[in-house]
Symmetry: C2
Subunit: 90 residues, 2 copies
């Protein structure tokens, strides 16, 4: 969970997640959306991968990245937990 929060603390990485929300994309396609070198994007992809927020699969020359919605939901659960407590105080 800590890895996830750390991964999400960077705006570039959150933007990558939003890109992957729509459809799976290769590392190159992802990199195109940013004014940053490919190695830097690769570094960010690694952080997201370490947190299991995204999944990678090689497809020929490309590596296709996809969103791991399960883990996104897990993190969202942390927030739900914060919000919901207090409800049962009635």
């Amino acid at each position: 969970m800590n890895e996830s929060f750390k991964a999400l603390s960077d705006p570039t990485r959150r933007a990558i997640i939003k890109l992957l929300r729509d459809k799976d994309r290769t590392a190159g396609e992802i990199a195109e959306h940013f004014q940053m070198t490919k190695p830097s994007i690769s570094h960010h992809l690694n952080a997201l991968k370490a947190a299991k927020l995204i999944l990678d699969e090689r497809q020929g020359q490309n590596i296709m990245y996809s969103l791991n919605t399960t883990v996104v939901q897990e993190v969202m659960g942390w927030f739900m937990d914060i919000i919901k407590k207090g409800e049962d105080e009635t």
Copy 2:
């Protein structure tokens, strides 16, 4: 929003939020829960305050901190947005 995510990337700060979920607490009460100096906790409280995730109000000698659930919900909304997209793809 970036401030919020940055603030949430630290485990101490997330623990502080969980403490405030149950009830409002003074800076001293919060500090008691951690093996860390009060200035360090103050630094973390500042980060949370900068993100508007918590609110502070002086009460005599103490400063009482409380959770700003509105902002917590806003951040949770970011996750909802990630998850919900794809639903309307049917």
